[in-house]
Symmetry: C2
Subunit: 284 residues, 2 copies
């Protein structure tokens, strides 16, 4: 640990980031924690390129396994989403050791595949929240600051406002959770408040994915569902006639799941942090 700060390992299980992202986030962390700057270890794999992905499946899996299993690293922070986590999840999970189980894991979007699999495998410190790549958004430093304060200081200031100590929570991208349903990666969310968000999908796809998710027997045992933001919804032909909250309410009603209103999460700089289960970070 550098000057009492923690060490955060950053890997990219899906798409790559530019080195400038690492530079900006490192500079931000130094400004936020001048007394105890965290050591941000951006794995070189973050900058690899193999077609759609930040390196081959083998390279991405190896970087994640090495980072998660390193006892000198306190937290694994996923660099960016995109697409690709599902291609390495089945080989990564069985390779993780006891040191990996002690770490915090933070990310969202495509990396929810790994968060869900880790949570299902009993990893205790999982959270859905901003990633280094969010620094590229307008005012993105606000989002990244939220995650750094959560990881470094254990601050709950950036947590989603409905999160309480009493009720277990979880958060996912809608499409990503849909693709975990019925697989060994689907976590048991019975009794949880589930928050769901989406980006760049047509309304018929959002409707179909929510129908799928809420049809799953495990999901029907939720304590409730909250709908995050569904940003940049793509055109539907013909016009879909229902918005995302209407379809969420309808599916919840059919499934007997309490619809609890909106959640302050989404693919944007306002994206708040949702810890999985009842785990809440300790202030440091």
């Amino acid at each position: 640990m550098a000057k009492g700060g923690i060490t955060i390992g950053i890997v990219a299980p899906a798409c790559r980031i530019e080195p400038t992202v690492a530079e900006s986030v490192t500079a931000l962390a130094a400004r936020l924690f001048p007394e105890r700057p965290p050591a941000l270890r951006f794995h070189p794999q973050c900058y690899l390129s193999a077609g759609h992905f930040a390196g081959t499946d083998e390279e991405r899996a190896s970087a994640l396994i090495a980072t998660a299993n390193d006892p000198a690293i306190d937290a694994v922070w996923f660099a960016r989403g995109g697409y690709g986590s599902c291609r390495i999840a089945e080989r990564v999970l069985p390779a993780l050791n006891a040191a990996a189980r002690q770490k915090t894991y933070l990310g969202y979007s495509d990396t929810g595949t790994l968060l869900g699999g880790l949570y299902g495998a009993g990893f205790a410190k999982i959270a859905h929240g901003p990633m280094p790549s969010d620094i590229r958004r307008e005012n993105g430093a606000a989002a990244v600051t939220r995650s750094l304060q959560f990881l470094v200081a254990g601050s709950d200031a950036g947590m989603e406002r409905s999160v309480t100590p009493a009720t277990p929570t979880a958060a996912f991208n809608i499409t990503i959770l849909s693709h975990l349903i019925g697989t060994p990666l689907e976590p048991d969310l019975a009794g949880h408040v589930l928050m769901l968000e989406e980006i760049s999908e047509a309304m018929y796809r959002i409707d179909r994915s929510l129908g799928h998710i809420t049809a799953a027997p495990g999901i029907r045992r939720l304590a409730g569902l909250r709908l995050g933001r569904c940003n940049s919804i793509t055109p539907n032909t013909p016009e879909f006639a229902e918005d995302e909250e209407t379809v969420a309410r309808r599916w919840c009603k059919l499934a007997g799941i309490p619809y609890l209103g909106r959640a302050d999460i989404g693919h944007d700089v306002e994206n708040k942090i949702v810890p999985f289960g009842r785990w809440r970070p300790e202030a440091r």
Copy 2:
């Protein structure tokens, strides 16, 4: 029955068709079976419009239930895919009676949601094949003829060539099956040869859906998988670098599912008929 021909009920559980589709298909049937033309009962619901759908969920569900439960009707032929079957499946299935269990059901694409649910519920005469709306394609009469000969004459001339009496089969659109996984509508396909096709999806989506499907424990008990055509694949940014057969082979290998080669199915006029299970129609 008209002149010894069978009666086929046509409903649209997803998107609407134009009345001209019914006229063209009826004329084709009369030409194909001058001695015993089938009675094609296009339910008026086929022409309704409610936003994205051929009528409201209530209207589509009611038309399907009434048609399936009518003992005077021999077969239910889905008019068209699109999107919408998943919104009515949970209310339709429990409402079906003994007469519904005797019928043949034929369709593909979005209506695979219903085919899968019916097959899972023990309905014996389910098949994946061309629909009336295929008449609109160039040379679409060839596709529709295949289905009419299957339904009316029990002809196996239009069956997918790898279908044999010995091995149970099933066929689905990739995205549709992905959205059945882990729900009560997911049929038990253990020991089956599963054929999968896709239309108008990006390669990363095809890859993700195949990863989802092949991760399901039930799917890992397949006898084998065949890949149908993936038509009109939409652009991937960046270029995906793998084609659909490469990703199908990779996922099958990871899942321990024998990859058996291509299947002659797809969203096109060559789309052949795949009966579910070991059911094969009797020639009439």
